[in-house]
Symmetry: C2
Amino acid sequence: MTIVLYELVGADEKRPFSPHVWKTVMSLAHKGLPWRSAPTRFIEVPQIEGGVSKTIPVIRDGDKIVADSFAIALYLEETYPDRPSLFRGKGGEAMARFIERWSQTQLHPFLGSAALMDIYEMQDGANKPYFRESREKRYGKSLEAVSADRDAHLDAFRKRLEPLRDMLNYQPFIGGQTPFYPDYIVFSAFQWVRVSSPYAFLADNDPLWDWVNRCLDLHEGVARKTPTAA
Amino acid sequence: MTIVLYELVGADEKRPFSPHVWKTVMSLAHKGLPWRSAPTRFIEVPQIEGGVSKTIPVIRDGDKIVADSFAIALYLEETYPDRPSLFRGKGGEAMARFIERWSQTQLHPFLGSAALMDIYEMQDGANKPYFRESREKRYGKSLEAVSADRDAHLDAFRKRLEPLRDMLNYQPFIGGQTPFYPDYIVFSAFQWVRVSSPYAFLADNDPLWDWVNRCLDLHEGVARKTPTAA
């Protein structure tokens, strides 16, 4: 049965931008499971499937509804054990949580701030006021002021990527010779900005591009096919 | 057969301080393998087992000699598969390399600088000149100048620990409910400074102490038994 994936979109349904949803897109593609998109805008999220979650992604797989990207990955791994593994054992499953928290605490704050105005501009008329109000409350300043600050933090952000860059001296993916869920966790943070903003968060000569491009090529180029910001 | 572990020591053989050796001590204890220490000082390292390695740890297990903490962990996992696992599957093995590079790039530079003068003071008369000369060449300044700088970088270091701190909201170890090699990778960086320096690299109220104390309690308190710096 085709899995339904509630994806976060703005005015353009062809440009899903949520990093957490991208983790699930890559997980579904990795497992080779058929799925269809249910495009969802910010203010529609609380209504998904009768209000099961305040956040996205949410999937419906037959009668089963699962929210939260990490919980979805665990669900897919348990439910489809004969498909390619997302974790390759209990050790991978446990350690993936560390990678998730690394990505969330070291990469997301900068990337989310850097793309903030561009994500705002992607929203339709009904969602723009919601986005501005909720984010300005969270940051304690205007969207414009948050994004204006990004250049000042760019060097520190690029330095925080050093563990990933250094790992590539040993192996082509976090998963070793082939990718798995932790690669998707980190790649999805980059894909978030690729889709929503033209901001050059990586230098053109950053060796990380090799890994980003390998991720973009995966699964028939599912991530590369989505139009990026101009 | 008892495994021989070449450990790095200073004047006092009872205080092995190398973080990389601590990874191996914890790995051997995790596997429950009998081993004995071969205390080694910096200038003796190139002579170990006929000069197999420029760095420590090195182990001898019967006829087999293995150098490098990560290679040793892989060797122990492969050679003693019936003992408790250090990686719990291929996923854990692959991802451990990312954790190693995180620890090496995000934790070691600060911790090594912060403890530098104290590590110097631990060396015996023959090793002090070697240590001073090689480290001053590496840093491009005096040992005293490197250590004097530590307070200025302390806050940034503590912030870089956020992924680990945040992970503890989900699980007690990087390995999930129980520890494994990646826990030892990170813990050993802390143990390095505990043994060599009185410097308070963690605030007294840092929630990470819960995890550090859990690690110190492991395997009959093998890490806690080593005398710390005054």
